[in-house]
């Protein structure tokens, strides 16, 4: 990995605030962001990402080939990754835990995505607005795969009350609070940008200007949460710890290859890779807890929140950038 990329990433305020959150927990500072304040940040970020993304999609003109290909590839990856993950996890875990963890890694983390976007901006590399569309489209399919895996691979003696009807699988996949807010905000952003540009401007200070600051505040909280999650990771065992680091790297490699074969430009390729490598700690865990109570929530939430998320934020982003720099030919405009 390129050391200068690593340093540039680490010295971004977002990552620095994440660190001070982590350190606060390690030093047993009594700093606390009490519930439900983190929820406020998280709702705000989803709304703003979605709205900005909708504008981006509208502005990049939706229906060209490259866009459709990229979005299809994104969906495909979020169907494929959980299947691969499931096979690996079944070596050690039962069907329920394997499906829940695998689904988390197939889906995405919006905050990882926006941290990557900021990193990209700091490198003066552009990416297209429709990549937020890829983000939105990758959230749900992994949930779908996870629940279908449970439905078909679960032991026959699962009590009837826990039978997963297709309707409830679809409900959890698409109407989960964070999926819903992201997608609907995206649609609103799209419609507004299309029909009412002056309203986009009026939203700008809220959705764009203060976004980066709120992101930093939220990452401070995420740092504390991640650090608090670490002890329960130890209980999960070294297999899962290894999985939480190696799976994102593995996914990023597949992502780079796909991006290359689609001839994505540097910026888009990087974000595509980040989406593949990131794991969900919002939509998927919430859906799994609802529908697969047999899975231990501490497994899937501690790995994604306590290990994969920090890894991606701190080391993953520069690593994936190096990968992209190596494997994606520099685009000539």
């Amino acid at each position: 990995m390129d050391l200068s990329l690593l340093l540039q990433n680490i010295f971004a305020p977002t990552v620095l605030f994440f660190f001070i959150g982590v350190i606060a927990v390690f030093c047993k500072s009594d700093l606390e962001i009490p519930a439900p304040l983190p929820k406020l940040f998280s709702l705000y970020l989803l709304l703003a990402i979605g709205f900005k993304g909708g504008i981006g999609i509208q502005e990049s003109g939706i229906l060209n080939n490259q866009v459709l290909l990229t979005l299809s590839a994104a969906i495909l990856m979020s169907l494929l990754i959980p299947l691969l993950g499931f096979i690996i996890l079944r070596l050690k875990f039962n069907v329920f835990n394997s499906a829940a963890i695998a689904a988390s890694y197939g889906s995405i983390s919006a905050v990882t995505f926006i941290t990557a976007e900021s990193f990209l901006a700091s490198q003066n590399i552009v990416a297209d607005g429709f990549m937020v569309g890829a983000l939105a489209l990758m959230e749900s399919p992994a949930i779908l795969v996870g629940l279908l895996l449970v439905r078909f691979a679960a032991p026959k003696d699962r009590p009837g009350s826990r039978k997963l009807h297709l309707s409830s699988i679809l409900h959890e996949s698409f109407l989960n609070g964070s999926v819903y807010l992201l997608i609907t905000s995206l649609i609103i952003g799209f419609l507004t940008s299309l029909s009412n540009p002056s309203a986009v401007e009026k939203m700008y200070p809220f959705t764009h200007s203060i976004f980066y600051g709120v992101e930093c505040f939220f990452l401070l909280d995420m740092g504390m949460v991640a650090a608090q999650r670490l002890p329960s990771l130890k209980k999960a065992g070294s297999f899962l710890i290894g999985f939480a680091i190696l799976m994102p790297i593995f996914n990023s490699i597949i992502g780079v290859l796909v991006a290359r074969s689609l001839s994505l430009e540097t910026g888009n390729a990087f974000l595509f890779v980040v989406l593949c490598a990131s794991a969900s700690y919002l939509a998927v865990p919430a859906a799994m807890r609802m529908t697969v109570p047999e899975a231990r929530s501490s497994y899937y939430i501690s790995t994604t929140l306590g290990l994969t998320f920090p890894f991606n934020i701190v080391l993953g982003i520069p690593l994936y950038m190096s990968l992209v720099n190596k494997f994606i030919p520099i685009s000539t405009f």
Partner: protein
């Protein structure tokens, strides 16, 4: 008069309240944002913003007969995600 304490995942709140209503309880009180640990699971504060939801604590003051009516249904709801239910004596002021 009895006091029934129910503690369970917020996600099941609606199901539990429906059960209470069907049994015609005279009233109930709900306190959300409770966290805790049970025999298997830990419920922490960060589960609220990750969407997993914290626990709800429901208190019902009612007659024993009403409790008897609800027992099976409550038990079956609590068996899904877990949760506890305890009865104690209570006298109206």
């Amino acid at each position: 008069m009895k006091r029934l304490d129910l503690i369970f995942s917020e996600r099941e709140l609606q199901a539990i309240l429906n059960t209470l209503e069907n049994a015609n309880v005279p009233g109930y009180t709900v306190m959300k944002h409770a966290t805790g640990r049970g025999p298997e699971r830990v419920v922490t504060e960060d589960m609220e913003f990750t969407g997993l939801g914290a626990n709800a604590h429901v208190i019902v003051f009612c007659e024993q007969e009403i409790i008897d009516k609800m027992r099976d249904e409550i038990r079956s709801v609590l068996s899904y995600y877990g949760g506890v239910a305890y009865i104690s004596e209570a006298t109206p002021l």
